[in-house]
Amino acid sequence: MMAPLNQECLEKQYSPETKNDLMFKAIESSGITKTFGPTMALDNISFSVNESEVFGFIGPDGAGKTTLFRIITTLLLPDEGNMKVLGMDCTSEYKELRKNIGYMPGRFSLYQDLSVEENLNFYATVFGTTVKENYELISDIYAHIEPFKKRLAGKLSGGMKQKLALSCALIHKPRLLVLDEPTTGVDAVSRSEFWDMLGKLREYNITIIVSTPYMDEAIRCDRVALIQNGKILSIDTPQKIRAGFSRKLFTVKSVEKYKLIKTLRKNPEILTAYPFGDSVHVTFINDTSENFLFEYLVKEGISDAVIQEAEAGIEDRFLELMNKGE
């Protein structure tokens, strides 16, 4: 028998990797597969999420994020594989499990013709609790919408709907919070505020899993899984995922962007040339110098190129992993 581990003892004795193995798992998934007719939505998905971790699933629309979240929340059964959430089996122990999960689906699914306050009371009652009992947990979030508590939920702005949905998902003090694309369609300011709110929930030891198509949100998570076509491409801390980029990366800027991309693509030494905002990210087949690239571009009639070596971001690594898989 292993002695129970406390946080302090973990910090002292073990490397981060070992610590990861020994931590209590909020989610353990192995070999999850789900098909819809001919579509393979999830293809042999295995991962685990540590207790009180903020874990992100990052990938485009259609990657399988929502299907996976519906399995985690016991709303859908997998075709194959095992899924344990909070130590409970998603199939046989779903009733007990549901009491401990807060779920915010991608589509706004509160009652539009109930007021803000009525929605919150309704969700508290369904879970056998009261707003008063767990108010502390939502007070920071709810404070933003409390002035509008008599307003119908359907009449709220996007940012306010999102805060109400989060309040309703938290009102029964769940141990696991599941957020399916909470920041999609929300402006950059509200997005940033939302992540700040999630950060504050850490104090309450709530495990949070969150999906997003925004690559730049990875940095807000403890660990992320990059997901594409029903498969997990990589799972790690955002820093390690970026560090996994295997080549030297250069950013190239020119006024004539379209010409620049076409010119870069023609050179056989260049492996990839992808537009990234106001620059183009370039990698070479063999280790090559900036001078070589500059001279080539001048020869091709692009004399204003500014070339810099750069650190790869999450999206660079995602592209690399996608190319490797094909």
Binding site: P60, A188, R191, M215
Partner: protein, 242 residues
């Protein structure tokens, strides 16, 4: 000086006592990729409805593709294209049927539609999908087709609403290359988006807040001016005064 395809002078739009657009001034050139940004409720949708001939200004001068936004809204509609990420193509029609339908709506004659259909299928290497339903296409292909359909009638301006939101990183880049190509051919691309990293691809961006344009310049110059590493940082600094 480059040819201006959108000119907006002192544009005001009121709904009752509410001022949705408060004295806007900006121009957009032919072949420019122009990003139109703002927080939810800043007044962007109101402006876009006016620029696309769906709504009339309360006061001010607005000219789109050479037509007046008060009196020539029908001509404006015929000279613009529109694509939004959420809905653009009919899912229960085939690729070919969608192209024929949109060609008809844009008032193109049959032989021209047929010609463009062939060109488009060849360019996108879409021949094998010609008779497939849109609902059977992967999302990335749908997006590319939706964009091609939005410029089928070679409009002066194409409006794109969050064009690459939610698509995978490779498709996203192919999509931006299509946008660059379109802009290089002289069509103005007018982008609205919440994705600030999409804004980084634009030649110039404007940021709206509470009905006013509070910033308008190239992403690079705005980043310098506000001492920010990204457009996102610029946006957070100025889009919400409080």
């Amino acid at each position: 000086m480059r040819n201006q395809v959108i000119t907006v002078k002192n544009l005001v739009k009121k709904f009752g006592s509410f001022v949705a657009n408060d004295n806007l001034n900006f121009d957009v050139s032919a072949g420019e990729i122009f990003g139109f940004l703002g927080a939810n409720g800043a007044g962007k949708t109101t402006t876009i409805r006016i620029l696309s001939g769906l709504s009339k200004p309360t006061s001010g001068d607005v000219n789109v593709a050479g037509f007046d936004a008060y009196r020539q809204t029908e001509q404006i509609k015929r000279n613009i294209g529109y694509m939004c990420q959420k809905f653009s193509l009919y899912e229960d029609l085939t690729v070919k049927e969608n192209i024929i339908l949109y060609g008809g709506i844009y008032g193109m004659n049959k032989s021209l539609i047929k010609e463009r259909l062939a060109e488009l299928l060849a360019k996108l290497r879409f021949q094998k999908y010609e008779n497939k339903m849109i609902s059977d296409l992967p999302l990335g292909l749908r997006q590319k087709l939706a964009f091609s359909v939005a410029v089928l009638h070679e409009p002066k301006i194409v409006f794109l609403d969050e064009p690459t939101g939610g698509v995978d990183p490779i498709t996203r880049r192919q999509f931006w290359e299509m946008i660059y190509e379109t802009a290089a051919s002289g069509i103005t691309v007018f982008v609205t988006t919440h994705y600030m990293d999409e804004a980084e691809y634009c030649d110039r961006i404007s940021i709206m807040s509470e009905g006013k344009i509070v910033a308008l310049d190239s992403p690079e110059r705005l980043k310098k001016q506000y001492n920010a590493a990204s457009v996102e940082e610029v946006f957070i600094k100025i889009a919400r005064p409080n």
